[in-house]
Amino acid sequence: MLFSISLYVALVIFGIGICVRIASWFRYRIGNEAQAISSGERVSAAISGTLRVIFSTKILTLIKVFFLDVLFQRKVLKEDVVRWIMHMCIFYGFMLLLLMHALENFISVPLFTNYYATVNPFLFLRNLFGALVILGLVIAIGRRMFVPGMRQTTRPMDIYLVALVGIILVSGIFLEATKIVSHTSFQEMVDEWAVLDDDELESLKAYWAADFGVVFPEPVAARDSDALEMGKEAHEMSCASCHSKPTWAFLSYGVSKGISPIAVTLTNARSQVWLWYLHFLASFVALAYLPFSKLFHMLSSPVSLFANAVMDPSTSATANVLTRRAMELDACTHCAACSLHCSVGVVFRQIPNETILPSEKLISLKAMASGKQLDDKELRRIQQGSYICTSCYRCTSVCPVGINLQDLWLSMREDLLREGYPENAAWARRILADRLGGQLRDKEATVTPAAGDLQKDMTVSLQAETFSSCFECQTCTNVCPVVNNYENPRETLGLLPHQIMHSLGLGLENEALGNQMIWDCLTCYMCQEHCPQGVQVTDVLYELKNRAYTRLTEEEG
């Protein structure tokens, strides 16, 4: 009764969840083009696009992708063989358990006339599939604990999934183990299926105690070889057609041997009933939770693989590209393969902003796309991570579910820009111009050399202290191609290179930082090359940019 109710509740939640998820593929807006196209347009474009693919030669591509990328998972294998082994174990173990065991009434029973859960090959296979999943989970946990990049990116959602699947598996194994040792189950089965007199019953008990792992509360009376022989005969008549030796259920049998000392206590406490509840409730929780969790990738990842295999950036309808972007957010398995190979992953060791890493950036994009209200601090973190990315394409080529990450990142920048968060340096210069830009325009103001030793303080580039050698020959300003670009450079750029050097000599850091010259520096090193005094002009400007940026990012904490 509880079983049916909880199953139906789980199915309803599952169904609603799937609808909500799929609806989001047509609702979430990512990128500039998304503003102009309605969800309705996206739905019809998706339907016509899908039909067009199915009724064309592209269907062959889909079939190829199904075998190579969905069933064989070659992209995972290419990225890391251990990860592939791990996922193969979990994938096939879980899928086969789902089909053969969980759905036994719908699949196994109709397909196999001799199907019983307790008879071979099914008894063995169920344990084999379970062992595969357990092996896969152990490897997965090991990787997340010991591979540095994996440890950094592990989040609660990854742990929940492993825990949930682990509970289902382990409860199932213990359930079978408690059934093996259960003397009450033995009695129930005998009452229902066997016609035996007392002697035969005793001998059957002996046989089952010896070879089938049942633990009886009192030692079985008849135990000699004749009794066992009689027991075996009774077994063959009444039990054998549905019961293979439990040693074939190697996982459960092993556990049953382990719990034998307390078997009677467990049986009398009806442990197999409680384990049964735990097992199916955990399974139904997983079912209901599926659309809202990483588990959903089982459905969305193949969709991403199919879509990206047949969609062509130059010919695909914009409406479908928009839908694909939203769908890809659900297809991500948070496997962090992208982050492990990210070209700027090393920067994360210096700047502790996890949105630098693609797998975490994608989660931020999901938050943005879902319409979640993000505060300024959060958006600045995302902006920083987004623009540290160099668009090198490696994450895209590595993604095992074929997500077009490059396209997502470029769209994300469009969305950030619309929110008022441009490229990092562009943002910094604008804020500093607002705050400090006016300081030296006021010709009446007295210039007071600042306290503090700027020379000792400018240590980032390790050579910036050279500004103190400057004797104002103006060579740097005269060879600068940026200065030479303007009729009136002071108007556009503010203080010019030699003037900035002089400001620093006077300790006037704010006056120096408020100038566009710093941000318009081409870094072409003409100034530094020609300076007669060895002032590292370009490097000083780099240091000033660093200081400005650090000051701004630290202010908000």
Binding site: S343, V344, V346, T390, Y393, A425, P481, N485, L522, K545
Partner: protein
């Protein structure tokens, strides 16, 4: 001779023909390349956080050291960044210790045992003009090229040690070995403008237009570059933002391996000539037929 190939971030997606043409030419000249999964050299992040840049470049140097291979890079910004990082690590032991502490997590260590070379340096110094000349089967006749050195390989000369910063010649000589004439033009050694692209587009374009117009005025048929970012600026950015709807291209830009490869008798398609956004097919008019 074998090098660890450091492509940098922009080539695979934005200028893939630079890699293909370079591999073809280096193979013909018997230079071996080992592919290593490197990271970004840190050039873009240097504007925000210098330590991140130094660690990025240091990791690349340490990875190559662990394979006992020198680095060959086709990008001049990467070249300048790696050389600068090496210079900093050599001259500041505290910095080196700090960086090595971070690299130790991956069992990497920077010890300063290997050299960083740009593609052009390898061709000029390690292969040599006479060897290259022998492989030229279809020299150019009458082709005028505005050789663009770029800035990050030339300066700061104390650090990069690529060529004479005021009167460099190695790139010109590499161009001329193909039979083309490397013309004089006043803005030759100026930056292409790309470092400001995405930060101050108007200024970046102003600088690029000045360069292109100066090169065109000097009588050149095309620019020749040997840097990923320079090619992006003179090819992609020129096509999309300067030429505009009228498609008024000032001058096409060709990558040096493409220029050399054609003169070595290689197929234009294989060299990725059709991948350039502005087709440099004008070059083909000047190729002499095979001897």
């Amino acid at each position: 001779m074998k090098f660890a190939l450091f492509l940098g971030c922009k080539i695979p997606y934005f200028v893939p023909q630079y890699e293909t043409s370079m591999r073809m030419v280096l193979k013909a000249l018997e230079i071996g390349l080992e592919d290593v999964e490197f990271n970004c050299c840190g050039y873009p992040v240097r504007n925000l956080h210098e330590r991140s840049y130094v660690l990025s470049s240091a990791r690349i140097l340490a990875l190559s050291e662990s394979r006992n291979l020198g680095i060959l890079t086709p990008c001049k910004c990467c070249y300048g960044s790696l050389k600068k990082a090496q210079y900093l690590l050599e001259n500041h032991p505290n910095l080196r210790d700090e960086i090595n502490e971070s690299l130790a997590d991956e069992n990497l260590k920077y010890e300063g045992r290997i050299e960083v070379k740009h593609l052009l340096s390898v061709l000029f110094h390690d292969v040599g003009l006479s060897v290259i000349k022998e492989k030229i089967t279809n020299p150019y006749e009458g082709l005028k090229i505005a050789t663009h050195y770029g800035c990050h390989a030339l300066r700061p000369s104390k650090v990069v040690q690529f060529d004479d910063p005021l009167a460099p010649t190695l790139f010109d000589r590499l161009v001329e070995v193909t039979g083309a004439e490397s013309v004089d033009w006043s803005l030759k050694l100026q930056c292409c403008g790309n470092p400001l692209w995405g930060k101050n587009d108007a200024l970046s374009l102003d600088l690029s237009v000045k360069k292109l117009e100066d090169a065109a005025e000097s009588g050149a048929h095309a620019l020749c570059v040997a840097c990923t970012y320079c090619q992006i600026q003179f090819d992609t950015v020129q096509k999309e933002h300067i030429a505009g709807k009228a498609s008024k291209v000032i001058l096409p830009s060709i990558l040096y391996p493409q220029l050399l490869g054609l003169a070595m008798g290689m197929d234009p398609g294989a060299l990725g000539m059709d991948v350039n956004k502005i087709k440099p097919d004008v070059i083909l008019d000047f190729i002499s037929s095979s001897d």
